[in-house]
Symmetry: C2
Subunit: 336 residues, 2 copies
């Protein structure tokens, strides 16, 4: 038995409401506050979340929805970094975290989450172009922050990076080095980030007057698709490859090495993410740095802003990315 508000009230000789006030910060005289606090210490009282939620409508719990196959959460650094950031930020603010992965269908997940009516707010990954789960959540009455966003989410709250611009920038870098047949290995097609990076790549190529026919290979962000993509692009006779993820770039490097193609002399290679390993490859990988942990933290903070101010406008946060130039594109020139 942990006791209730009434127990504390009885123990300290005041009414229940007074105890409630010292907990929630109402105006209480210093003397009684002291007595109540003492009583709370003895009984080891702590408020019942269910009762408090029922009475106040706030639970202090936020739902985190990452509807991807659970193993992807661990394989794909984007998700693990993101998750890490969210967990940390929520814990710091004393919020509970309820997690939903892709163990159920999107429809089931949606129903359960909205049905519970327990959460103060939601953090949801939104990378699929067509996603009934995200649609349902965004249009629910719950304060929701998306990680990533589709065009239709323009009026929602979200945190994201500018994928298109980042891809354009890294492609520009390749072109500025004199590369003309720049290939691209995409991320998971149908995903917003993949499509936008592809768009950015295409735009840079077009602006430089370069064709992209046959220079795009579909990937899925994972290493094996990088190997396969490089194989394809090698046959297409590229002189540079921009991979939509570092992980794919690692795979591409392996393929190129197996084929005896020199990097960057024959073919320049660039990735996206700046994973820790990107600095350790041979040659070290040029890439676009993004901080996925920060993305998670910002998502949590945006949500808190929404929760603390009912009138708050939708929160939209675009985090910066940074081109990190290493030897996989500039050879030894760039260093020492």
């Amino acid at each position: 038995m942990v006791g209730t508000l009434d127990d504390v009230a009885a123990a300290s000789g005041v009414s229940r409401s007074t105890v409630s006030r010292v907990i929630n910060g109402g105006s209480v005289s210093e003397a009684t506050r002291h007595r109540v606090l003492a009583a709370m210490g003895e009984t080891g009282y702590s408020p019942n979340l269910a009762a408090r939620t029922l009475a106040s409508g706030r639970s202090g719990v936020v739902g985190v929805v990452i509807h991807v196959p659970p193993d992807l959460l661990f394989q794909d650094v984007f998700f693990s970094g993101l998750f890490h950031g969210i967990a940390e930020a929520l814990a710091q603010r004393g919020a509970g975290m309820m997690l939903w992965l892709a163990n159920l269908s999107k429809e089931q997940t949606l129903e359960r989450i909205l049905g519970m009516r327990l959460f103060d707010g939601l953090i949801v990954t939104a990378d699929m172009l067509d996603d009934p789960l995200v649609d349902g959540l965004v249009h629910s009455s719950l304060p929701t922050v998306l990680v990533g966003h589709r065009h239709r989410d323009r009026s929602a709250s979200y945190v994201d990076i500018d994928n298109e611009r980042a891809a354009e920038q890294i492609t520009d870098h390749l072109i500025s080095l004199g590369r003309r047949r720049v290939g691209h290995i995409t991320g998971r097609r149908g995903g917003v980030s993949a499509e936008e990076r592809l768009t950015g790549y295409r735009r840079a190529m077009k602006r430089a007057g370069l064709a992209t026919d046959g220079l795009v290979a579909d990937g899925d962000y994972l290493a094996r698709s990088g190997e396969a993509g490089a194989e394809t692009l090698l046959a297409a006779g590229v002189d540079a490859i921009f991979c939509a993820s570092d992980t794919m770039a690692f795979g591409a490097l392996r393929t190129l090495e197996r084929h005896g193609a020199a990097v960057p002399d024959d073919i320049a290679v660039a990735g996206f993410d700046d994973l820790p390993q990107a600095a350790e490859t041979v040659p070290p990988l040029t890439t676009m740095r993004q901080d996925t942990g920060r993305l998670g933290i910002e998502a949590a903070h945006a949500l808190f802003r929404l929760l603390n101010d009912k009138e708050a406008a939708p929160q939209r946060v675009i985090l910066p990315t940074e081109l990190v130039i290493r030897q996989s594109t500039v050879g030894a020139l760039g260093s020492r």
Copy 2:
């Protein structure tokens, strides 16, 4: 507005209690049940978790406590597999999952979890010899299932493998191949699994009349410590190395290759876990298979048994492990 029990009652012309009965399976006539169900469909009603929890004392939510640094959750396959299994099993049973990692101190975590009084039960990893968090949770009034267990947890509910016996078995295998100076690279010292595997290794060696002085190198389950440990053991002149994890074995193999030591001719190598990559190393790795996903599933099932039967005895589940013999210990002999 999602509506309340009263709304449904009004819409279907029955009392609130009757609606509650059709939801929770009381005895209701087929006719009224039908009307109520229809009304629920229209209003899109779904019960309020907080209210239900307050009234019944059951929330349908279980707390999952994996108090390790969040990045370890992703690096260490033991945890990711475990987590995966737990998430899947809970989702299947329609239970919500609230997750606690090491974002707060153990004391803070303990306080928050017990303070909430929202969970029906708890699943907690227990690998540290001295862990106030686990102690507090086990001694709380909440039904709790441990993953792993210390000696002092003998009377609690847990799922685990027999680490000591498994280590003994794999060491026996090495000895049976004629190896005499079998070294061991341990897991995280202070962890139950690491200590027990060490004990099992020592026991097998002792029984065979072999000394272990200078043949034990401390590791931490991760690859780098495997490299370092192999370095040490190489200098100690071993003819076999049993690593407490596959990940460390991968590191050890790299070190041995760098030193030009032939595996298994000069030095036999064995791991623990049977990760997917264990079959892909050169040579393929002999190892002890354990199914960490299954461990998570069993933990969830054990908890459900506890929840469904208040009188249930403590659940104790020891999952089997399996010695998988590959070329890293038997060379080409074992195959084709």
